[in-house]
Structures are given as C-alpha cells and as structure tokens.
Symmetry: C2
Subunit: 187 residues, 2 copies
DNA sequence: CAGTATAGTAAACAAATGTTCACTCTGTCA
DNA sequence: TGACAGAGTGAACATTTGTTTACTATACTG
C-alpha cells in the first residue's frame, strides 16, 4: 500500500524533477483529504525516502538511489536485503560537478584499461596530474586521451594498447584534465 | 553575475536536493527584495536551467547535466561550446529505475568486454534475454555474470576471457537480469 | 549630456502551502 | 462482542509562497 504510493511519488519526481505538493498528491492518490496525504508523507519520512526541512519536502538519497548488491567471491549467493547499499550514479561518479565534464572516447588506445571506443569518460578539469593518471592533454597542439608518465622530470604519454608507441612531446605537453571514471552503455 | 547566482542555486540544490524558495534565495544572494529574486529566476528560466509549472519551480535537465564534448576522429580539436550536449549519468544509464539494480562485479571472466573486477554494472531485471546479452543468471544453483549464448534451443553461458570454458547447464539455467551498462571509477 | 537599460528596494496581494483537530468507517483480533 | 488500530474525510489555521506595482540608484551608451 505505502509502496505503491512511494512508486507514484517517484514517478512524479522523475517526470517533474521535484516532489509533488500535498494537493498534487491528493490527485496522485485520488484521495480527498490533505490529512490522508500528511500521514502518508510521515510514513515515507519514517522509511527514510523523504526528509523535511522546516516544512519543505525533499527527497533523500535513498529516494533516487538504486540498491547495490554483490556476489560473494567465486560468486554464488546475492547479498541480503538488509545490508543493502544505495547508490546514485551521478553522486558516486562525479565528485566535483562544477569542474567536471564528459568526453566521448574515440579510438582504441586505452583498451588495456577497459576504455573502449564510444565510451564516455568523466573528466575533472585540472592542470596537474600524477604519473599513471589517464589525462586529457594537448601534446604539441594535438588533443588526446592517454596515460601520463613521469620519468624523473620528463613527462610523456603512453597508450594502454601495445599497438601504439609512447608519445614524447617535442615542445609542449599540457594537461587539461584527469579521467575519474568511465561509463559504457550496452546495445 | 547571473552565473554566480546560478552556481549558488546549484550548490543549494546539491546540498538540499531541492531548489531554494524565493525567501531562501534572498539569503543566498544576500538581497532584501523578493522582486530582485523574481527577476533572477526569470533569467535562469530564460537560460533554460529552471522551469516553472504553475508557480512551482523545478530544475531542467540542463540544470544538473554535465556538458558532453567529443574529440573529432583521430582526435584533435574539442567540440565548440555551441553544439554542446548535456547529460545526466543516471538518466543516461538507467532507463527503467523501477526494475533496475546495481551489482558489483567480482572476477575477471568478462575482461574481454571491458568489465573488470570491482566494476559496477547496471542490471535490468527480466527473465528473458537474447543470445549475446550479458546476463545475471543462476546455472545449476550457482549465481554468475556471463554472456548468454543460444545454440538453437540450447542455452549456455560463455565468458569473455579465454581462460574460462563455456558453462553448459546440467539441469537449470535461469536468467534474472540483463546488463545494460558498466561503470568504473578510477583510484 | 540626456536617455535608457539594469539591479535593487519596499510594500501589498491572492493563492497555495503544510499542519492540526475532531470525526467516521472499516477490518482485525482477542 | 467489544476494543482498537489503520485509513480516510472535512474544515479551519497561520505561514509562506510567488507575483505585481511603483519607485530609486547605478552604470552604460550613443
């Protein structure tokens, strides 16, 4: 009962990007008393899907998040419902939304890292990086996505594909960002 | 000017999971007239970051989304600001949130597909799948994540790693979901 | 220099918000 | 049979919402 109501609220949220007001919930649930809605909301708060600041409603992260389960070791039983973790991909993958952007990968130079042609990588804008980081860089005016290597003072770029040799900058190697995550959709 | 205000609203949103009300924006911007806020909101609507239904505010997808850029072909110039696309990872990756969950991968049996140990896959709950789909299945009571193959009527599971042989079910092969996407965080 | 946007203040407004109280109608369980 | 909790109605409430109007100060522009 309460679950169907929650589903309805979630659907509303995904359509409107905001929680419904009490009077909108009246219609959602086809009820006719705001007090009924009030009690339902209290229940959702009790379940941890919604929170209240003053008297403004907001979803919690449990509200959007998907359950995260796991297979134990060699891989048999599924984790119990109890120890479930919840995860929002945006929050999980993008730590600093203000200075991040997405980049569609082309080419097979990073297949060794499991970054394929067509994948999307999340790039954090910054001009420094560590040896071993996957970076978006400009090497002698060419933009590329490669592994940064620092050999003492000299820095160069390496692929994760034996097909390609390392790239040593003739003049300039400028770093624009570091790859924080990859994402790939199937089909 | 307006951009700083937008950033402030975004920060508020990420903290509270909702847009601030006009009086909250008064404090956010340290203004003292609601009309000033009103005009700022109108501007944000004009820019396409916020929308209004009746007189309730809601963010648009442009509001959360990160810019998606791309490297052309062999990989030199970055796409111009103009033809920017915006993407929310949750929306992009999870088509049916109601019947999806996340699974943490263990093992190296799918490295050929770029799915590594520790990656997170998005699984869509369903009991049918096509040959070639990566599925979460129960084969003779063992849970596993493999590639489904259909050889005429017979179905079996295959790895994406030459180390492992195909698995033919002795009795039972039951499908619980299909992998729709993979996600990997670096570091 | 005059003219005109732009950014802000201040006050007043109807409409909508979430909350509360008292009450009814089930169905369940002892 | 009676008690009781759960789910809903209906009305009243103070607050807060977003909007509007009129007016001021600043800064840019031709």
């Amino acid at each position: 009962m309460i679950n169907e109501r929650l589903e309805a609220i979630k659907k509303f949220y995904h359509r409107h990007k905001r929680l419904p007001s009490y009077s909108e919930m009246l219609q959602l649930f086809t009820l006719s008393s705001k007090n009924a809605v009030f009690k339902i909301v209290q229940k959702c708060i009790g379940l941890g899907f919604i929170k209240k600041e003053g008297n403004k409603l907001a979803p919690t992260s449990k509200f959007f998040a998907l359950p995260l389960v796991g297979l134990v070791k060699a891989g048999f039983p599924i984790l119990a419902e109890e120890n479930r973790d919840y995860l929002t991909l945006d929050e999980y993958l993008i730590e600093d939304p203000q200075s991040s952007f997405l980049l569609k990968v082309s080419g097979d130079s990073l297949i060794g890292l499991g970054i394929f042609d067509g994948d999307i990588v999340i790039i954090h804008k910054k001009h420094q990086a560590l040896s071993g980081d996957v970076v978006l860089a400009q090497i002698d005016t060419e933009w590329t996505l490669k592994i940064l290597k620092k050999d003492g003072v000299k820095a160069y770029l390496e692929s994760a594909n034996p097909k390609y040799p390392p790239f040593f900058p003739k003049q300039d190697l400028q770093i624009f960002g570091v790859v924080k995550a990859v994402v790939r959709k199937f089909n």
